[in-house]
Each structure stands twice: as structure tokens, then as C-alpha cells.
């Protein structure tokens, strides 16, 4: 069998499904927009003809940024999950489970509640990059804590999960403290991060996340050979001539960056990073050359669909997207944990 050709087919299939999901997500909602209208409006949009009727406004100011943000954030979470699992050599490692996402959340909340002055000053300089910066610091610290604990224990899955629980608990305590100290108005902002939502999507956020994706995906993808070798073991990867210290630093930094972008604008969205690489590995194997790119595509696809579901189920009200991804992801996580007793510990 020609595997390279088969993979081209898979990429095409995933891309087409993604575009279809996006089209459906653009068309469905409290007001339905027919596909014909979407294509016409897109045409106008791309040729810079301004259309100011109501449907166009809904389409370009609300739905399109939301769908694109959903795709980008899903892709960011997917690749960070795939890269972190490869580095930890453990299919249970995931930004949410390891406490990376909650570390990022805590960092953002601390900044908002304890140093509102600093946030305002930084916002004047960095604009929309301010919150991702704080989230990045939190994500990085959380990853480093987990790595330090894990380093002492060899490859123990239980240690990894326990370290994640520890970091998550620590972050939860901090988050609790922040909500206690927060003013009423701050509190409303804080609850947004707790459950995750794409409802605040706008074009600026889309651009920042796209820049994040444009940075993280190439950097992580370039490490695919070493990530493959790392699955054999640290020493084995070193014997194959890889500079694993450097690669690990890159993976930690850029997966933290990916999580930070996602958390800063959409709050805690769990399990995309766990479920997506897992499903892909079952079908295509663990080769990171394809796994990373496919995780971006499938992660984006899943989040666009999950968001659509959240908008439609209780329409016109919205379900927080974190609940949707968690209800999908938790059973798979538990299943993996049960399986891992025989395989990964």
C-alpha cells in the first residue's frame, strides 16, 4: 500500500469536512442564512464590496469570526495536545489534565484581580496580546512544575496524572481566591474563563490566535522526527543524534503558547487536546509528521461542531462550550485510564 498517497486522501477528507462544518456553522443559528446567501456575501466580502444588510452583519461581524476563532482555538488545542503527549510519551497527557490550561487561567485572573493597573498599562502597549502574555506565563510555569515532578519518577503514568491533579488543585485554589477578592464587575469577567466560550469572538481575537497558530504549528511540526524518536525513550532519541533538551524546550514553550492563546480568549476548553490526537493515533498511527497537522485540522473541526451544538441546543440561549467538550472528552479519558493499567504503567 502506498501510505504517502493514502495520507493525501486523509488530508483532503479532513479539509473538506472542515469546510463543510464551517459552512453549516455559518448558516445555522437563531437566524438561518441560506448557503446561497453565504456564498454571495463571501464573494462581496473578498472583493471588498461593502454590504450592509442585516444578514451580512450577522455573517461577518458575528458568525464568521466565531467560526474562525473556533477553528483556530481547536487547532491550537489539538497540536498542543499531540506535542505534549509525544514529549511525555503518554497518551493521557493533555494541557487540561496536566494543569497547563488552569495555570494559564489562574495567571490571567491574578493579573485582572490583583494588578488591574498593570493590565491597563500593558494593554496600551500590547493591545490584545496582553492577556495571552499572562496566560503564557501561567501555562509555562504549570508545564515546568509537571515536568520537574515527572523527571524524578521515570515514566510513571500515575505520577504524571497526580502531578496534574496537584497543579490543577493549586490553580483551583488560586482561582477561588481570585473570585473571593474580585469586585462584582471583575467576577462577571472571571466566570467567562471558567467554562470557556466562543461568544466573545471578534476579528481582533481571530487575528491574534491565527498568528499564534502560524507560529506554533510550523515550529512544533519541525520537531516531528525528534518527537517520534522520543517515543522510544530519552536515551534512545539521544543515541539517534537528537538534541532532546533543545527540542523539549521548544515543545514546552510553543505548546504553552498555543494553550495560552486559546485560554486568553476562550477560557478553559478541555479535552480537545486529549481526544483529537488519540482518535487520530488509532487510525493513522503515532507518526508526528502527520499527527500534528491532522490534529490541527480535526481539533478545529471538532470545536466548530461543538460550538454549533452549544448555540443550537438551547437557542436563543447558549451552552458553555467547556461543558460540551468535557462531556465528550471525560468518558474517553476514563476509558484510556482503564486501558492504561495494562499498557502504559
Amino acid at each position: 500500500m502506498n501510505r504517502a498517497k493514502a495520507h493525501v486522501g486523509h488530508y483532503v477528507f479532513l479539509t473538506i469536512s472542515l469546510l463543510l462544518a464551517m459552512a453549516v456553522a455559518l448558516s445555522l443559528g437563531t437566524t438561518e442564512i441560506p448557503l446561497k446567501k453565504i456564498i454571495d456575501s463571501l464573494n462581496d466580502f473578498l472583493t471588498f464590496r461593502s454590504a450592509s444588510d442585516n444578514t451580512s452583519v450577522i455573517l461577518f461581524e458575528i458568525r464568521l469570526p466565531r467560526v474562525l476563532l473556533g477553528f483556530t482555538v481547536g487547532a491550537l488545542l489539538g497540536i498542543s495536545g499531540a506535542a505534549i503527549q509525544g514529549m511525555f510519551r503518554n497518551p493521557l497527557a493533555e494541557p487540561g489534565i496536566l494543569g497547563v490550561s488552569s495555570g494559564a487561567t489562574l495567571s490571567v485572573m491574578l493579573a485582572i484581580v490583583l494588578f488591574p493597573g498593570l493590565v491597563t498599562i500593558l494593554s496600551n502597549i500590547l493591545g490584545l496580546f496582553t492577556l495571552p502574555l499572562f496566560a503564557f506565563i501561567g501555562a509555562l510555569v504549570a508545564t515546568l512544575i509537571v515536568m520537574t515532578i515527572q523527571a524524578g519518577s521515570g515514566l510513571n503514568t500515575s505520577t504524571l496524572i497526580l502531578a496534574g491533579i496537584g497543579v490543577n488543585l493549586l490553580a483551583a485554589t488560586g482561582i477561588g481566591l481570585c473570585s473571593y477578592l474580585a469586585t462584582d464587575q471583575q467576577l462577571r469577567t472571571l466566570t467567562f474563563w471558567g467554562l470557556g466560550s466562543l461568544s466573545s469572538a471578534n476579528w481582533d481575537k481571530v487575528w491574534v490566535c491565527l498568528i499564534g497558530l502560524a507560529l506554533c504549528l510550523p515550529v512544533l511540526w519541525l520537531q516531528h522526527q525528534c518527537l517520534n524518536a522520543l517515543l522510544l525513550g530519552d536515551s534512545e532519541a539521544r543515541h539517534l543524534g537528537f538534541n532532546i533538551q533543545r527540542v523539549k524546550r521548544l515543545v514546552v514553550t510553543f505548546s504553552a503558547l498555543a494553550v495560552a492563546c486559546a485560554v486568553a480568549f476562550c477560557g478553559l476548553i478541555g479535552f480537545i487536546g486529549l481526544v483529537v490526537p488519540h482518535m487520530l493515533r488509532l487510525i493513522f498511527g503515532p507518526n508526528h509528521k502527520h499527527l500534528l497537522i491532522m490534529s490541527a485540522l480535526l481539533g478545529g473541526l471538532l470545536l466548530v461542531l461543538a460550538d454549533l451544538l452549544c448555540r443550537l441546543l438551547l437557542s436563543p440561549a447558549e451552552l458553555p462550550i467547556g461543558i460540551a467538550t468535557a462531556s465528550l472528552g471525560t468518558p474517553i479519558f476514563l476509558l484510556l485510564l482503564v486501558k492504561s493499567r495494562s499498557q502504559w504503567i
Partner: protein
């Protein structure tokens, strides 16, 4: 000399694990490293592989000190089969062996040829499309051996290659043990310096060109198998009561524990 160690000390300075190890292995030699549990065999292999910091002494590959080699250059001539491995992700067998080609830039076509030869070498070619995680322990060992061998498969003019094997026969059935060592011996004769750890003394006697015995972190005996494997040495360094006779087929010693 492809591999050369001079006065190597490893471990805490007040109680080193390895003391004053000097040894050399030439291209074309297959040397056995043996000794009781906990005498430092694996530590020595790890030290040569660059996994253990040296307290003092020096290690040279092709007459160039180990620290002077770049990671990638070294990976092209030095290949290591560890005692344990932890691959728990479902790579196909072919993909696992292909990882052994990562230090080289020989192109996909050439790499595939070499992978196929290496898989045939370790009698795992028929497993190539299976998932590594679904293989038995002995089959996994053969796949890992193929990976390690394909890393230094190509003969290169004037460049000695080095192969370190920590218990390569672990988990293999007797027929595969014999066949694997026969082929390893042939392979090293193409210009590879081979050093393997083994507990099976008869296997060492049959296939090793020289034997090095470690005891309490030091080289206790070294030389041709018939010189090293004497009743006296066996009882002193292996705490083994054994008769040593001549092997009925090949000329080497045959160790019969009593």
C-alpha cells in the same frame, strides 16, 4: 582502534561504580562484557553511550575524544541497544526500524532498502507491517535489534562503526539466539567494533573474539574465552561451581555448571 577507554572512573568519587576501566575494541571484533549482577556492565555501556558523566579518564571513538564529536556525527557511527525500552505507542514495525535511519540523509529509497535488509538480518521482515505494540517480547527485541543495526548499516571508508548491545539475546528463543549471534559476528567482520553484555557464558564463549569480566566495578579478567573461562575464574568472579571442557563441535570452552 574504533573504541578506546582509558582509566575511566564513574560514580560518586568516594565510592565509584566503575574503577580504572581501560579497554579497546577494534573494528571487526565482537567482544563480550560479562560479570555478576550489579558489577557495572550496564553502567559501562551507558558511559560509552554518553549517558553517564565520567569522574575521570577518557573515551575515544576512532581516536577522537567523545566530547569532540557532534551529536549527529556520533549517531552515524555509534549505535546502542538498551536493556529496556518503553515504546508504548502503536508504530508499525517498519516505522520503528526506520527511526534508526534518522541520523542519516541517505534519502527515503535507500533508507527503505536498508530497513528491509536490517529486518531480514534480525528475522523480523515478515513482521514489517504489524504494530510494534502487538508483538511478543522476543519479537520486539528483534525489531529493536534491526533498528539499532540499520543505524550503522552502511560501510564507510576509513570510518569505524561501533555497536553496543546490552543483553541482545534477552527474550529470544535458543534458535534465534544462535542465529542472531552468528549474524552479528558476520556483521562486525564488515568493520564494526561490537561490544555486548551477556550472562550466557557459553554464548559468549562461542561467539566472542574476546571476553571482559567485570567484578566489583573493575576489569577482573580479559582475553580469549578459553583463557578467561577457567574453573578458578568462574568460582572467583561468578561464584559458580562449574566444569570447563572442550566444546565437542567448535574448539572453544564449554561451561557445565555443577
Amino acid at each position: 582502534m574504533s573504541l578506546n577507554l582509558q582509566h575511566v572512573y564513574i560514580g560518586p568519587s568516594n565510592q565509584p561504580i566503575l574503577k580504572d576501566i581501560s579497554l579497546s575494541v577494534d573494528a571487526g571484533e565482537l567482544v563480550a562484557l560479562t560479570g555478576m549482577n550489579g558489577t557495572g556492565k550496564t553502567t559501562l555501556i551507558k558511559a560509552i553511550a554518553g549517558e553517564q558523566p565520567l569522574l575521570s579518564g577518557r573515551i575515544e571513538f576512532n581516536k577522537k575524544e567523545c566530547s569532540a564529536w557532534s551529536r549527529n556525527e556520533l549517531a552515524q557511527i555509534l549505535s546502542v541497544l538498551p536493556q529496556r525500552y518503553h515504546l508504548s505507542f502503536p508504530f508499525s514495525v517498519e516505522e520503528v526500524v526506520m527511526l534508526g535511519r534518522s541520523p542519516h540523509k541517505t534519502g527515503l529509497k535507500k533508507d527503505k532498502e536498508i530497513v528491509a535488509s536490517a529486518l531480514k538480518f534480525s528475522d523480523a521482515f515478515h513482521l514489517r507491517d504489524k504494530l510494534y505494540t502487538q508483538l511478543s517480547g522476543g519479537e520486539q527485541q528483534r525489531v529493536q535489534l534491526a533498528r539499532v543495526v540499520c543505524q550503522i548499516w552502511q560501510r564507510r571508508k576509513g570510518v569505524g562503526r561501533i555497536l553496543l548491545l546490552d543483553e541482545p539475546n534477552a527474550g529470544l528463543d535458543l534458535a534465534h539466539q544462535q542465529e542472531m549471534f552468528r549474524r552479528l559476528k558476520k556483521l562486525t567482520e564488515t568493520g564494526i567494533a561490537g561490544l555486548f553484555v551477556a550472562h550466557d557464558l557459553n554464548l559468549a564463549a562461542q561467539f566472542a573474539s574476546r571476553v571482559i569480566v567485570l567484578s566489583k566495578g573493575q576489569i577482573a579478567a580479559s582475553g580469549y574465552p578459553e583463557k578467561v573461562f577457567t574453573t578458578e575464574n568462574l568460582s572467583r568472579y561468578f561464584r559458580l561451581q562449574a566444569e570447563v571442557t572442550k566444546h565437542p563441535v567448535h574448539a572453544g570452552p564449554l561451561i557445565v555448571p555443577i
